[in-house]
C-alpha cells in the first residue's frame, strides 16, 4: 500500500483541514524515514483504518461538520417547547387534578419528562446554546427525579435510573462533541 492510498484510507470522511495536516505530517515522516511515497508504507504506518478511527475520535467528520453548519429545522425547537410546557402543565395541575397520584397520571408525567430529555438530543451546534438547553433540562428534570410524589404508582427507581443515565449520556456525548469541534475548527480555519 503506497502513501497516497494509505492517506486516502486514514483520512476518509475527515474535513479538508484535518486531511491536509495529517497528510503533511505523514509525508514529512516518510521523507525523514527515507521511505519513498510509492513504497509499501503499511508496515511503518500501521493499519490506516485504525488511524482513521483514532482521528474520528479527535475530529468531526465531513458529515458532522456539514450538519453543524446547518440551521436546525424549526420542529426541533417546537418539540422542546412542547415537552417543556407539558412538564410544566403537569406540575401546575397536580394539586387540582382528580387524576393526580393515579397510575395513568404518573405514566403520562414520566413520559413528558422523558420526552423533554430526549428532545434535547437535537441540540444547537453553538456551544452556548447547547449548555443553555442542557442546563434547562437538568433544572427541570432533576427535582422531578428525586423523590417527587407525582411518581407514586409507578416504580420510581427504574425510571429515575433510566432518566439519570439518559441525562449523563447526553452530557457526556455533548462534552465529547464539543472537544471535537474545538479541535477541528482551528485546522479548518487555518
Amino acid at each position: 500500500m503506497n502513501a497516497a492510498l494509505w492517506l486516502t484510507r486514514a483520512t476518509q470522511n475527515l474535513p479538508a483541514g484535518v486531511t491536509t495536516r495529517v497528510s503533511r505530517d505523514t509525508l514529512d515522516h516518510l521523507h525523514d524515514a527515507g521511505l519513498p511515497e510509492h513504497a509499501d508504507v503499511k508496515a511503518v504506518l500501521g493499519d490506516p483504518e485504525a488511524v482513521n478511527a483514532d482521528l474520528k475520535r479527535l475530529y468531526l467528520t465531513v458529515r458532522e461538520s456539514h450538519r453543524l453548519g446547518m440551521t436546525p429545522p424549526p420542529w426541533q425547537g417546537w418539540l422542546r417547547v412542547g415537552a417543556l410546557l407539558s412538564v410544566a402543565g403537569f406540575l401546575l395541575l397536580e394539586p387540582h387534578s382528580p387524576l393526580a397520584g393515579q397510575g395513568v397520571w404518573s405514566v403520562l408525567f414520566g413520559a413528558s419528562v422523558l420526552l423533554l430529555v430526549l428532545a434535547t438530543a437535537r441540540l444547537h451546534p453553538v456551544r452556548r446554546d447547547r449548555w443553555r438547553d442542557l442546563t434547562l433540562s437538568l433544572i427541570v428534570a432533576l427535582p422531578l427525579l428525586v423523590g417527587n410524589d407525582l411518581l407514586a404508582g409507578v416504580p420510581t427507581l427504574p425510571l429515575t435510573l433510566t432518566l439519570t443515565l439518559l441525562i449523563s449520556l447526553r452530557l457526556s456525548t455533548h462534552m465529547h462533541l464539543d472537544a471535537r469541534i474545538r479541535r477541528t475548527l482551528p485546522l479548518e480555519t487555518a
Partner: protein
C-alpha cells in the same frame, strides 16, 4: 495503563528532554527502549494531535533546508502531567514488582 496512555506517556517523556519533530519522537522511543517499544507512526500523529489539543504540548512550523517541519515541545501543563503520570507509573511498577518477588521487594 493501556497502549494509548502508554504512548502518550512516552511522547511526553521524549519531549521533556528537548523539542522534537514527529519522526525524531518515534526514533527516540525506539532507540531508548532498545527496540522493544515501537510507536506505529500512524498512531503517533493522532496521539500528538490529542496532546496538543489538551494543551500538554504545542507545535510550531519551522523552515529547515527548504522544507517546512513541525516541531513539538512540552508545555508547563504537559510537564506537570508528565510528573504525575510518572509517579503513577512508578507506583504500578513497584506494585507489580512486589507481587512478582513474592512480597520481598
Amino acid at each position: 495503563m493501556n497502549a494509548r496512555e502508554q504512548l502518550r506517556l512516552l511522547i511526553l517523556a521524549v519531549l521533556d528532554r528537548q523539542p522534537e519533530h514527529g519522526y525524531a519522537i518515534a526514533q527516540a522511543i525506539n532507540t531508548r527502549s532498545e527496540g522493544l517499544l515501537r510507536a506505529r507512526e500512524g498512531t503517533l500523529y493522532p496521539a500528538l494531535h490529542a496532546l496538543e489539543a489538551e494543551g500538554l504540548i504545542e507545535s510550531q512550523e519551522h523552515e529547515v533546508a527548504g522544507r517546512t517541519r513541525r516541531e513539538y515541545r512540552l508545555t508547563d501543563k504537559g510537564r506537570a502531567a508528565l510528573a504525575r503520570t510518572r509517579r503513577d507509573w512508578q507506583a504500578q511498577v513497584s506494585a507489580v514488582q512486589a507481587v512478582l518477588s513474592g512480597g520481598k521487594a
